[in-house]
């Protein structure tokens, strides 16, 4: 990868974490209310993000299929497989328990919420356990 993409990615990370924080997507109050259907806030955040992401990406792809360095996008195929359902449900339960999906884990740490280190430690062990059990699991 070209070297100048690293500072760009660093900047994207900074901006994304500010967005997640200011949307309050990293707050246990908002997450608990979302999963209990007690308020629509995070559903509206996510739905409007997807709507804008969808339209803006369609427009971008209609204009160009290359990044600003002139290379094709590296896009995963993401075919359907059963693991998406099993893994998705397991992650959903973990999301409720920790009230943090992966982005917010890092954003919380940046916000000096040190208990999020327990979530990160768990997530790394969880990823390790997946690698360990992968040969036995349904893809």
């Amino acid at each position: 990868m070209k070297w100048w993409k690293y500072p760009i990615l660093l900047g994207l990370g900074v901006a994304f974490a500010i967005g997640l924080s200011k949307a309050q997507l990293i707050s246990f109050v908002r997450i608990r209310r979302m999963f209990a259907f007690a308020e629509p806030h995070l559903y509206l955040v996510i739905a409007s993000a997807v709507a804008v992401g969808l339209v803006s990406t369609l427009i971008l792809k209609a204009i160009t299929k290359k990044d600003i360095g002139g290379q094709d996008y590296q896009v995963k195929d993401r075919p359907f497989r059963p693991g998406i359902i099993f893994g998705g449900l397991i992650f959903g339960v973990g999301w409720y328990l920790t009230t943090a999906c992966p982005g917010p884990i890092y954003a919380l740490l940046g916000n000096l919420q040190w208990p999020a280190l327990f979530i990160l430690a768990g997530a790394l062990i969880g990823a390790f356990l997946f690698g360990l059990l992968k040969p036995k699991l349904k893809d």
Binding site: M1, K5, L9, L10, L12, G13, V14, F16, I18, L20, S21, K22, A23, I26, S27, F28, R30, F35, F37, L44, V45, I46, A51, V52, L54, S56, T57, L60, Q71, Y73, R78, G83, I84, I85, F86, G87, G88, L89, F91, G92, V93, W95, L97, C101, P102, G103, A107, L108, G110, N111, P115, F118, A121, G122, I125, A127, F128, F130, G131, K134
Partner: protein, 167 residues
């Protein structure tokens, strides 16, 4: 609206959505975060373990360094918000999160489910929900429905049988 205020959904949501084309155009990559757990394992595990667990046996410098730099940005962005932008304007974690065994074990055990589940599903809220659906991937839509279904079910069980309350 002041810089210290949180953002309403109709501003925050669209900003988050624009990261999908921004990633493609500026970096040639797809927005995603949970693969960073895999990369971290690949960095931390000794080679003899990785030879057996082939899932972690790859060149993380080549495959993952871009994402680890992004994660570094996430950490710094959280810090910027907390220090200079007035924070998120809401309590972020429960009072007992780091101070009781119940709180710590919930975070740790839940974290294991987050790491395990996102790797099995090959994506999280950013990779599947924001990025995948924006790129019209049906599997990402199914994954996202499962994310929410798992969280809603856990919330229901917590409130019905374990006295959970909604803050």
């Amino acid at each position: 609206m002041e810089i210290n205020d949180p953002l309403p959904w109709y501003i925050a949501g669209p900003i988050i959505g624009l990261f999908v084309p921004a990633f493609l155009l500026l970096a040639g990559k797809e927005l995603g975060i949970s693969s960073s757990f895999r990369h971290a394992c690949s960095i931390l595990l000794p080679q003899r373990t990785k030879t057996k667990l082939t899932y972690f046996n790859y060149d993380w410098k080549k495959e993952g360094s871009w994402q680890l730099v992004f994660v570094l940005g996430l950490l710094f962005g959280g810090f910027v918000t907390q220090q200079w932008l007035g924070g998120a304007g809401i309590q972020l974690m429960p009072d007992n999160a780091g101070s009781s065994w119940e709180g710590i074990l919930t975070l740790f055990f839940g974290g294991i489910l987050v790491g395990f589940g996102t790797r099995w599903a090959d994506g999280c809220t950013s990779g599947h929900t924001i990025n995948g659906i924006s790129q019209l991937k049906l599997s990402s839509l199914i994954a996202s429905i499962c994310f929410v279904a798992g969280g809603v079910a856990a919330s229901f069980v917590h409130r019905m049988f374990f006295g959970g309350i909604v803050p």
